[in-house]
């Protein structure tokens, strides 16, 4: 009971100031902000790696970096973007928005919340520090297949393993917090079915995290003992099996794909109805589709392994199960389009990014279907086609949804509107550059250019130069985004109203802008029913 009284007595401001406020904070808004700041720093670090990769690939032959450095950069680019950017940025959005959207005063386990955040900078530092160690950092691709990551890996791999452990603990703690908050802290009148779709996507994502992050932790632990303590989990000489590594990794890895896209679905499902001034079409079917996708994600992992010599029957099973995912995903895309249909549309930056998400994510989904076909995958696997495919679902997919979320909720966080003209400019440059970057990759892949190589055959030069130019423009465009966000944080721009957007629905728009330090000390009186 004491806790409850104290938090009311604290009033509207943090109890400490300066750096200690951020180190000791248990406030969901502070922690959300820290998550967002951390992940965007990682986005720019990972992006810088991508720029070097594209600079090297601008011409055939070796120009800028050594082959070993190139391998390290591709590996670190993948690891930083997945574990350092996309996962934390969604946890940051969850921290900020879930309590506001369900009328809760804070996250359910505030101290654990603080701990899960502060593990991240530690893990990120360990991971990045490997690049400066003797023998270089991880250079075996973000999928770290054994025995490349066990027998043949640089010394620093043990640090990488430890960093993955910390990242795993952080995201498991974050996920537990989200689930407990959603189940126990909702406003009394809010039934599960009344929850905003973003909260629904996070509930399901959190279950996925709890189910698969421990498997990743177990896998890297096996790597650790294989490397240092003479076990042979993945070593054929000692009776182990390298293919087992791939099974374990992709048992984690495929649900992970949905961990990094489901919250994006949630964001788009919030933004599109607001700017179409309509209710989300097929709300219930959206939730069932989410649950189906989450379930199917556990039984498709071996479609990443068609080339390992799986028995035909198993390959067929995984192929059909994979293609089945197109059904619930198709339901979602249909519902978004149906929400837009005959709506009173306006095209503010969040809406532009969301609409681009729907179109471009769908392209990524289709190329995924192509890769699901065994005979096609025999040709496409390990080529730039795969690189094109997963960048389409991650960049104009997840990343565009994150931009949409940032522009959508930034006025609520800062109390000031962002610069809409610049934001539209940011969108159009990004939308053109993203396609310029990733679309030609499909053709390169079909023509036979392998992925993860620093040098390539002469006939691939033209497309690679187009890709590199697109990548540089895309990278530069993100500096505009940085500028827009900083300007809004500094209070430049008109004051935002509480509703911010004309068509907005939901509890987060009933609190003042900027959202006060403590909100919903008393549960909201009225909750929208569905």
């Amino acid at each position: 009971m004491n806790d409850g009284q104290n938090s009311h007595a604290e009033g509207a401001h943090p109890s400490r100031t300066g750096i200690l406020r951020w180190i000791t904070t248990t406030n969901h808004k502070d922690i959300g902000t820290m998550y967002l700041v951390f992940s965007f720093i990682m986005l720019f670090v990972g992006g810088a790696f991508a720029m070097v990769i594209r600079a090297e690939l601008f011409q055939p032959g070796m120009q800028i970096v050594q082959a070993e450095t190139f391998n390290m950069l591709t590996t670190m680019h993948g690891l930083i973007m997945i574990f350092g950017f996309i996962m934390p940025v969604f946890v940051g959005l969850a921290n900020w928005m879930i309590p506001l959207m369900i009328g809760a005063p804070d996250m359910a386990l505030p101290r654990i919340n603080n701990w899960s955040f502060w593990l991240l900078p530690v893990a990120g530092t360990i991971l990045l520090s490997t690049m400066f160690m003797q023998g270089g950092g991880p250079n075996f691709g973000w999928t770290f297949y054994a025995p490349l990551s066990t027998t043949f890996a640089p010394q620093s791999t043990d640090y990488f393993i430890f960093a993955v452990h910390l990242l795993g603990i952080s995201s498991i703690m974050g996920a537990i917090n989200v689930i407990v908050t959603i189940f126990n802290m909702r406003a009394p009148q809010m039934r599960l079915i009344d929850m905003p779709i973003f909260v629904w996507t996070w509930l399901i994502t959190a279950f996925l995290i709890i189910a698969v992050m421990p498997v990743l932790a177990g896998t890297v632990t096996m790597m650790l003992t294989d490397r240092n303590f003479g076990t042979s989990f993945f070593n054929a000489a000692g009776g182990g099996d390298p293919v087992l590594f791939q099974h374990l990794f992709w048992f984690f890895g495929h649900p992970e794909v949905y961990i990094v896209i489901l919250p994006a679905f949630g964001i788009v499902s919030e933004v599109i109805p607001t700017f179409a001034r309509k209710k989300l079409f097929g709300r219930t079917s959206m939730i069932y589709a989410l649950a189906s996708i989450a379930f199917l994600s556990f039984i498709v992992w071996a479609h990443h392994m068609f080339m390992t010599g799986l028995p035909l029957a198993a390959s067929m099973f995984f192929m059909y199960a994979t293609m089945l995912i197109a059904v619930p995903t198709g339901v979602k895309v249909f519902n978004w389009v149906a929400t837009v249909f005959k709506g009173s549309l306006t095209f503010e930056a969040p809406m532009l990014f969301s609409l681009a998400f729907v179109v471009l994510f769908t392209i990524g989904g289709f190329t995924g279907l192509m890769l699901a076909l065994i005979p096609a995958d025999v040709q496409y696997h390990d080529t730039y086609f795969v690189v094109g495919h997963f960048h389409y679902v991650l960049v104009p997919g997840s990343l565009f949804a994150v931009f949409a979320a940032m522009y959508y909720w930034l006025p609520k966080w800062t109390g000031h509107m962002y610069n809409e003209t610049l934001a539209k400019f940011h969108f159009w440059i990004s939308a053109v550059a993203v396609n310029l970057t990733f679309f030609p990759m499909h053709f390169l892949g079909l023509a036979g250019m392998p992925r993860r190589i620093p040098d390539y055959a002469l006939q691939f030069t033209d497309f690679n130069q187009i890709i590199s130019v697109g990548a540089f423009v895309f990278g530069a465009a993100q500096l505009i985004f940085l500028y827009i966000v900083i300007q809004a944080m500094r209070g430049k721009g008109p004051k935002a109203t509480d509703r911010v957007w004309e068509g907005s629905h939901g509890l987060e728009w009933t609190v003042p802008s900027p959202a006060p330090y403590h909100t919903f000390g008393e549960p909201p009186a009225h909750v929208e029913r569905h």
Partner: protein, 179 residues
């Protein structure tokens, strides 16, 4: 926050943490489960090390061509070969094949032979009663060794399997043997 909410928060968090811990155990359980699954279905082509009943009759109406392939993994300084590369075997007939290996290094070494059998449909019908791959092999520096495999083919083997390949890979296990 109300005490009741706090209590149920901690309880739910504990349940979820236990689930996460259970999934960690599941990852480790996958190791024996994977082996058991492969053995049961014959997928991984390793062939069983099961206790086998010796065959009572020989089916002389058909014979299966059995090929042996030997391979030394990496740059291990051992030689490894067999005198008989191909063999015609009747189902139910017990055969013994000799393999030879030589340690060209001056130091004592140990190696592990790993067998895979192709095609997958035939794997489970190859019954080995004795094989040098069952145990780690130690050879003194510059010494050589004669090893044998004793096997038969189960008479239930499908008719469409006309040829079997036993592929042996030799791995350097000197470091593993020390620990």
């Amino acid at each position: 926050m109300l005490n009741a909410t706090k209590k149920s928060n901690v309880r739910l968090a504990a349940i979820l943490l236990t689930t996460a811990f259970g999934m960690l155990l599941f990852a480790f359980a996958m190791v024996p489960l994977y082996d058991a699954f492969c053995e049961m279905t014959g997928i991984n082509n390793k062939g069983g090390r099961v206790r086998v009943e010796m065959p009572t009759e020989v089916d002389t109406s058909r014979s299966i061509k059995v090929k042996f392939i030997t391979h030394v993994h990496g740059d291990m300084p051992w030689e490894f070969y067999t005198a008989e590369n191909t063999l015609e075997v009747h189902p139910g007939e017990v055969k013994k094949v000799l393999f030879y290996t030589k340690n060209n290094a001056a130091s004592d070494m140990s190696g592990q032979f790993v067998a895979t059998i192709s095609p997958g449909q035939g794997t489970r019908y190859v019954k080995k009663t004795e094989c040098f791959s069952f145990n780690r092999q130690f050879i003194d520096g510059l010494d050589e060794k004669e090893m044998s495999v004793v096997f038969f083919i189960d008479k239930d083997i499908p008719d469409d399997v006309e040829e079997l390949i036993l592929f042996y890979t030799l791995f350097d296990d000197t470091l593993g043997a020390k620990t």
